[in-house]
Subunit: 335 residues, 2 copies
């Protein structure tokens, strides 16, 4: 199998991307196809290793930046690393595509170039959400700021299929984010989605209050992309601001400083639980091929992990599972 990587996307590209590719080779069976400016990629590879037989380069001269307008960029920059990456998938010259570039363009490109899975109305971004118990998946993390009830149901199906097959969580519990736990709370979107999910094949837990999300109350956290994006960014903001307050406390006086040194190992452990690089990237679910969106500020480790999960995403047949399940239920009925 071949995994295509956008060598030019992300704040630390191409260095961190190339580094991640090289270190992934020890942990995957697939070969890598790096897409981007050939000379630059070659020199980044040669800086790091002599043996890159399992890495091919496909040249692409243009770059889609974060400032580019998504749909326009994917349509006009036909020779960008992202557009060429999709082309490889389309022609079956690669099975998976990983990019840390412009999220909107990646979403637009996936829908336009790969197409949606039959029965799926809106693809979504699924983000791994670290909890006290382990990890949940949050879907949609920001692709769809406005949703219909059938979309939330689809998110539940897609999130479950990914968790079950890639992260080996059996019969994952699915909950909808709401402002109360009782049935009937919240707004119309939530209420209709609740009814659909309750009568579906999902292992449906019901409503979930945001307070319980960090404790891992459910495995699949379903919400529209607006709420999902707020949840992800707020979690990051609260955690980081707390850590910086804690740092102030820990460095206040010499006695605290000494204690802080003693605690350093423990705190490192604590910080690592919040480390997004462990999870590498967010799968884009609902399109016909596996696409992974890596974090814009991905370092080599994040890219390595994104590639690892990308390989599993393809090997475990997640897309086939989604297609089976969505067509068994006939989501079109919920329109």
């Amino acid at each position: 199998m071949k995994i295509a990587i956008d060598a030019m996307g992300g704040d630390k590209a191409p260095g961190a991307i190339v580094e991640g590719c090289i270190s992934s080779l020890k942990e995957i069976d697939s070969n890598i196809v790096l897409v981007g400016k050939e000379q630059i990629i070659k020199s980044e590879l040669e800086k790091r290793t002599k043996d890159y037989r399992r890495i091919d380069i496909v040249n692409a001269d243009e770059i889609i930046s974060n400032e580019d307008k998504p749909v326009q960029a994917i349509r006009r920059k036909r020779n960008s690393s992202m557009a060429v990456g999709f082309k490889l998938l389309k022609k079956n010259e690669a099975e998976v595509f990983v990019s840390a570039g412009n999220t909107g363009a990646l979403l637009a490109g996936a829908s336009l170039r790969l197409g949606r899975i039959k029965g799926i109305d809106r693809p979504a971004i699924a983000s791994i959400y670290p909890t006290k118990k382990g990890s949940s998946i949050l879907i949609d993390a920001g692709a769809n700021a406005e949703c219909k009830p059938r979309n939330l149901y689809e998110f539940g199906v897609m999130g479950s299929a990914y968790l079950e097959n890639v992260l080996n969580i059996r019969n994952p519990k699915v909950g909808i984010v709401n402002i109360g736990t009782e049935e009937g709370k919240g707004n119309k979107l939530i209420n209709k989605s609740y009814d659909i999910m309750k009568s579906s094949n999902l292992n449906f837990y019901g409503n979930v209050e945001a307070r319980d999300i960090p404790y891992g109350i459910v495995d699949v956290i379903v919400c529209d992309g607006f709420v999902g994006n707020v949840i992800l960014k707020l979690t990051e903001g609260v955690a980081m601001s707390l850590m910086s307050m804690l740092k102030e406390v820990l460095t206040k006086d010499i006695f605290s400083k000494l204690s802080a040194i003693a605690l350093k190992g423990g705190l490192k452990d604590f910080k690592s639980r919040l480390d997004y690089t462990e999870y590498g990237g967010a799968p884009l679910l609902g399109v016909k091929k596996p696409v992974i969106k890596a974090h814009g500020s991905s370092n080599g480790k994040a890219i390595k992990n994104a590639i690892k999960y990308g390989e599993l995403f393809s090997q475990r047949g997640v897309i086939e599972r989604i297609e089976e399940e969505i067509n068994r239920m006939g989501a079109d009925e919920f329109e």
Copy 2:
């Protein structure tokens, strides 16, 4: 001035309520009217103090519980402590009402019994949000799960008036919660609200990403009640789960334990920044009299602070400021 308190509302009522009232007397000029079961209140008072000349009791035999349906409860339980509290405000026998009881019933009662401020379409709950810099106000914290653009504008006006007059923050910065900072991001509700606020008299900052909220990027955080409730509860959930992870780290081995003891003072300081009891309660803005919703699990200190802020809410003429501003702009135009 007289401040009416619902003696029967909240998880720790009536003990914590009575305790909070007694300790508030040292910090306020007003007198207190405790509303609820007279004999019980009397015995709670006598347990704690001999001198309660500044505290009156108004008897109310019924109690609205958290399980009661809001509108129904306020209509049928005419002799509940909450209903009687509103009656005192209506008859000008008290100026402010504080309750830690059923939030929905308090909202329904305020709208039905006191009425909305002229020009305000939807009253909202404004919650103090502790930040790294101090405190912001989040509005709406959960009263309106579905909003129109004019509502978000009104929330901005009401939040600003409260912050400026009660918390002495001059010309508070107002931001809308969105999933990107650029104009045009997000959904239709946000975009229309953005346009209204941009052309208003508010000190409008623009879009705010959830990540920046805990750092105090704006003073007034505007969002619909669904998103607001998610923000409040998630902040609590993330902070509490992090604290419990931290605790695990700190008690792992004997050396860490010793360090933890040394750090205890600092950690206490750290925890107190997250302590909602400092802020006491959330003002209900948009109705014709000052109403404060105290946290359901309020202790004496939280009640004392809710009373203190309730007094300022009335003394500083917040309601008059809101009425002036909303009618100057003519929010009805935005319908």
